[in-house]
Amino acid sequence: MFGVLSKKVATAVALGALALTALPAQADVIDDIKARGVLKVAVKADYKPYGFRDTSGAIIGIEPELAKDVADKLGVKIEYVPVVSSNRMQFLQQGKVDLMIATMTDKPDRRKVVSIVDPNYYSSGTNIMASKKFGFKKWEDLRGKPVCGIQGAFYNKKTGRDFGAKIVAFKGTAEVYAALKAGNCVAFVYDDSSHVATLEQADWADYEMPLPTIDDAPWGLAVKLGETKFHAMMEAMIVDWHKTGRILALETKWGVANTPFAMDMNKKYK
């Protein structure tokens, strides 16, 4: 739903921008960032531990730290723009942010909209979190049952189409957890990395991640289409993160078990 909307909106925004002569200057974005003195990065603010708020309101987590590395490299200040799955690509297209590191799964259709940088910086798969009492064994068990998801997540469609689940999409994770506890849905389809972190809490002792993880898909950070210079710079940054074990160190720092993907990449580039 949001995919179609976002494309239309993007066109409308482009037209509106033309009408208001608000088209940004065609200079390179790196020059813009340096002239501005601020790197604006889209990050999540409701996805612990990849991007979330501390009590002072500051956005912290693994991805904000990666973004900070980029700002340090450019020698500018950083500004975090909190995004949700349904608006992160628009913000990048509009030029509201220069860079997006927002837990986005790398998909071919998304590569047409934003410029996703290779190699991928992270990876996770899709799984569900459900009460143990349901005893789900395979994805097909979800057929006809209400399953909670997050608006704008790509696996909603897949879970609905391939496995026949009825997707109930919410804005943020807080709402989903409430719905799950209240029994509005039988399971929550989301990134397995998030489930692992959540299931560690005593609150969710009666819940499990019962199904085989599917779609183990890499995450892509992205710059605006056509920003080749910035794209090349980010490519070097990601390789450097893998080489130096920066991602592994951040995982440990924020209490996530080192993922196979991060370890493999570290070996590959060492």
Binding site: V9, A12, V13, G16, A17, L20, T21, A22, L23, P24, A45, D46, Y47, K48, F52, R53, D54, T55, S56, G57, P82, V83, V84, N87, Q90, Q94, G95, K96, K171, G172, T173, A174, E175, Y177, A178, L180, K181, A197, T198, Q201, A202, D203, W204
Partner: protein, 296 residues
Amino acid sequence: MGTGLENTWIWGVRDMTMKQTKNNVLPVMMAPRSRPTDPFRLKAWHGLILASIVVLASIPAFAAEEPAKASIFDVLVRWMPLLLEGFVFNVVISISAMAIGTITGAALRLGQISLNGAVRKFAWVTTQFFRNAPWLVLLFFAMFLLPFEIKIGGLTIPLPDWLKAIFGLSLPVMANVSEIVRGGVVSLPSGQWEAAESLAFSRTQVLWRIILPQCVKRMLPPWMNLYSILTMATVLASIVGVSEMMTLTGQALAAEGGRSDLLIPFYSFVLLMFFIYCYPIARWTIRLEKKFAVIN
């Protein structure tokens, strides 16, 4: 059960009312007197009860034996400064949207009673359009159709999300204010216009010196009602990603790792803040309504 009895009772009541109307003066001519509008009024100490409900809702946490898990109340206190900051944002959005909406709405209304046909039509269409459009849809339009910054010459004016939210919410307010002003103007007896004209006031003078001053007090209560509704509608901005109280509450809950026991206390707190802000406005509105009540 007991239908016969009920019938006699109903007839009896009717008889009584008929007698009353016959014996007394007509209701339209009755002297103004204050009637009890509310069966119950909230006092300051009721607020304490409400606040204690929030605290009580967090009591189960004390029972939770794990020492590692902070009590709900502690968590709420920890996040309170940020949430209140968000609430200030809601208030700022509501006041600004109301200010813009009132000025443009009043202008729109004056357009609707303009002597120029084209202006009148345009103002009418605009009012009807924005009055009958869902607030959230207007908010979405403002969010996604406005650019994030405007460049005029060398000057770059950024349009942050909250500014767009103010703009988006001021559209329906504008249309509603326009209707409130219409109500105010219409409620004045036409004799006011005629008398003013017969005294050789110009149209501008009639409007500004005779009609509008009389309207203001009649418009105040519905205008304040609208403000209350607008304030409560500012949480809609959370859907389009403005970092106001509702958004921050969701993010705070996510940062606490999806602890479902926090949900009710956190949202109760949001509720309480809005209630504390809006209730006095509602009371004040009722007082003004009574004060300006026109018996006719």
